[in-house]
């Protein structure tokens, strides 16, 4: 098994933290997005979508999304469960993770990719170039801040996003908060539940990765 990572990007961190929380050690190859190593012909043979992370299985299969990698590793290494132990937990975690990804992560990606000069012509990941849409960038910023403002209510008095156990919902939510920092967006200072949760998940050893 081989893990294709990029140490500077938010998406591969989703898999990196998951691997660490499972206590796994997987041979890791760093592909530098800054240097364009994800756009080379060589890397496109591994992942035609030109994105990280990628997990190469021993039979040569490439899993090319965080969710694909999570589902595979959760099945092979069920402990500790990071996608729910019971049916209801599995449902609730999948639900939350979806909203964190679509309303949080994606809004942030839209904000960043449609406003930052260095991403001109690269408004979407993948082999095809798309021009920036400034209105979409502004909408992304607005939605990202609204999402950050809603985290306090999402956490409530629970220790973790989905309840009593740390899960992929916490991984994605923490990475979204850190990612939002790239555009100087942040959790409201007076969001006591969100701040308490963020301190807790950020102090886990895996969060350093």
């Amino acid at each position: 098994m081989k893990f294709y990572d990029c140490s500077t990007a938010p998406s591969p961190r989703r898999a990196r933290i998951f691997i660490a929380e499972k206590g796994l050690e997987i041979e890791t190859i760093d592909i530098s997005i800054r240097d364009g190593a994800h756009m080379t012909e060589e890397f496109q043979a591994i992942n035609p979508h030109c994105t990280l992370p990628v997990l190469e299985l021993d039979d040569g299969t490439h899993l090319v999304t965080s969710t694909g990698i999570w589902h595979y590793l959760e099945a092979v290494h069920p402990e500790p469960p990071l996608m729910g132990a019971t049916a209801a937990e599995k449902g609730v975690i999948a639900d939350l993770q979806w909203h964190i990804e679509f309303d949080g992560f994606m809004a942030m990606a839209e904000a960043l990719r449609n406003t930052v000069p260095a991403m001109k012509g690269r408004a979407l990941t993948g082999p095809v170039d798309y021009e920036q849409i400034s209105e979409l960038g502004e909408r992304g910023k607005l939605r990202s801040q609204r999402f950050l403002d809603g985290i306090d209510g999402m956490i409530g008095d629970k220790p973790f996003a989905a309840g009593d156990h740390y899960s992929v919902a916490d991984i994605d939510l923490m990475i979204m908060v850190d990612f939002a920092g790239w555009l100087k967006l942040k959790l409201p200072e007076d969001a006591a539940n969100a701040q308490r949760w963020y301190q807790s998940v950020s102090s886990r050893p895996s969060a350093k990765l």
Copy 2:
């Protein structure tokens, strides 16, 4: 258990077909999006995101995304597996489903919601109104057609999207193709693999739903 459905919308169909393929019968309540029944205070108490489908569990928990509903039902009713039987299948199906949702479904939603006069001010689902962005609508159409053009290669000579077994990847892919028809976008006529696959999955009894 109660299933909140909307018979005219593509997203709840993702859960509806899944339920049928599992051979389950669940009490179903139709919420008419056309009549705005998803925006009422009463429905917002069930799902503050104002979207369908929703599955209400017996303890009152509401699962408010297709993926949340799938994960729950797959755990409670594992047969036939629709999210993969082996770890590798689970990974490959999650991978494919993610790309179908993000590059297919989402592109189509962007195309529709940002161009159709009836959706003015409703460019995104949810309780907050967002204005249409015409450039995003055009980009969505372009991406949707590119995605449709790529289905032939995705299917190849396999019977189903992920290989030998029907899965959530087929459910989403079929619904995306049907959804694209709303904007008169379609599979290329000469895409033999895609056409063969589409005929096959569309002829399943669940596809009528």
